[in-house]
Symmetry: C2
DNA sequence: CTCGATATGGAATATTTATTCCATTTTCAG
DNA sequence: CTGAAAATGGAATAAATATTCCATATCGAG
């Protein structure tokens, strides 16, 4: 079996390691399969484990794991582990320790609340890094770069996002209009053909945002939706859908991921429009 | 010298380790001092290094490092390292790998921009965890819990924060008034004695916010400032100052840390006011 | 079924790493 | 200055870990 032949070179980065792992995992005999599965699920333990520990975790003898490392292209386990030890992310455990201290200050205390919201914010941002639809983002930039005026609709919890977009577009000298519902005035007639709408809404989906999105579509505007998933009513009929989810703590959700996405979108659009 | 006597028990957590390290560092002979300094600055390498590597880093012979581990209360280096290996934060390197991939998609591309803003958001939140003034936060909660109406002032970049606070206070059934400057109307007469103001502003400090804060103080309101440091003009004269900084990427800054802080404040105030 | 190729497990061996011990140096109190 | 206590460095030793090798088992093609 050609899979037993070690690859000629060892992966030189964690990313390359993952690719190699995926590639060789296509066809493996029983014990080596166990190794692959366990390693894939415990990449974060490679730097801090021994052959014996990982082998025990995979329920194989150490020699099987040695063979597995060689199939991946390493001379042995030590070479593989060196890759991970050298690539180790700095900063731990400072943040984790600190967060725990804050949390331990007492359930419900302002400090413990802060710890929870900090954590949910970070998790939300991390989740965005993994889940972002890069094509949709690029498409949204294209659509908005070609638009006349960019209209912004987001109410209640989404309002901070919409207003931040208005701020950034102003900074980037992009024609933008914030629909803030002031005085219950009806600005729908400002939705002109060739314009575009960024509609921002999350469950339980503001009626006003949905209505404005529908009105925009009817008037021939392109609609870019920022919402919490493909099942969102806002996604339906939008030209582009940027899905982003936030982690809850209690009755409230972070806004960190949404703002990072919005900011990236606005800066990319502003840059594209200025021709830089 | 009594410092040479090993402590009776080994630290049982990373936090305890840090406390022990700080405690014994008060007085140490030359080589052991070098060990303390190096370990303190490289806690994140303990799990993935050998005695020889850490000793070389500290510029001491391995035996000095062994002695240092024993002074900390461990039987040896292995016991100390075990503490860190067992406490190792899971999840790495998935996020780091992903972020690198996003960044590598091309400088200035929407995706690379997103990577940068995700990273600056996470760093800002982490920085908040480390820098938060817990006493100031508790004091702000006390002040706002005792207030009649909570007035909210934040313009331009700070406006999303102020509007989010308004949203959360509404959800928590707290009397709150968002000063949004609509129609350039002057709502300063709504600032009643017994009320409080949350004033949010960052460099280059909105004139409107500073003016409203000053007006509030003159009318006997308590002022809670959310701003970017003790040198901020907003901090001067405020009853409580909540300092929060954000990491820049290019001309724009994250808002993640500020929002997490604001959200925590609002929820704590709402909870305190409802008597739960 | 046979036989060759492949997979497997475990023990022996090699290598690396942690630890101990001791001679020497340095420090500090009297 | 002396002498005892403490600090220091390095080599020897012990322990842990990685690796190799070989006998045996399993698989699959003919």
């Amino acid at each position: 079996m050609s899979m037993s032949e070690p690859s000629s070179t060892a992966p030189a980065s964690v990313e390359e390691f993952r690719e190699r792992l995926a590639m060789i995992s296509a066809e493996l005999p029983k014990r080596l399969r166990q190794c692959a599965d366990h390693i894939a699920a415990n990449v974060d333990r490679i730097a801090v484990s021994t052959v014996a520990e990982l082998a025990a975790g995979a329920d194989v003898p150490p020699s099987a794991l040695m063979r597995f490392c060689q199939i991946l292209g390493f001379s042995g386990f030590s070479e593989m582990q060196r890759l991970f030890r050298d690539a180790y992310a700095p900063g731990w455990p400072d943040y984790a320790t600190r967060l725990k201290t804050l949390r331990d200050s007492g359930a419900g205390s302002p400090t413990a609340l802060l710890a929870e919201f900090i954590d949910s914010g970070r998790q939300s941002l991390e989740s965005l890094a993994k889940s972002v639809d890069e094509q949709a983002l690029a498409q949204a930039v294209d659509v908005l770069s070609a638009a006349g005026t960019v209209h912004l609709a987001g109410f209640r919890r989404a309002y901070p996002v919409a207003s931040y977009l208005a701020y950034v577009f102003e900074k980037m000298a992009v024609s933008a209009m914030l629909h803030d519902g002031a005085g219950k005035l009806d600005h729908r007639f400002a939705l002109r053909p060739g314009d575009a709408l960024i509609a921002i809404s999350f469950a339980p989906y503001s009626v006003e945002t949905l209505a404005l999105a529908e009105e925009a579509r009817a008037r021939g505007l392109a609609v870019v939706a920022i919402t919490d998933g493909a099942v969102s009513p806002l996604a339906e009929g939008a030209d582009v859908c940027l899905a982003v989810s936030e982690v809850d703590f209690g009755a409230f959700r972070s806004l960190s991921a949404t703002l990072a996405l919005a900011l990236s979108l606005a800066v990319a659009v502003g840059t594209a429009r200025s021709g830089v």
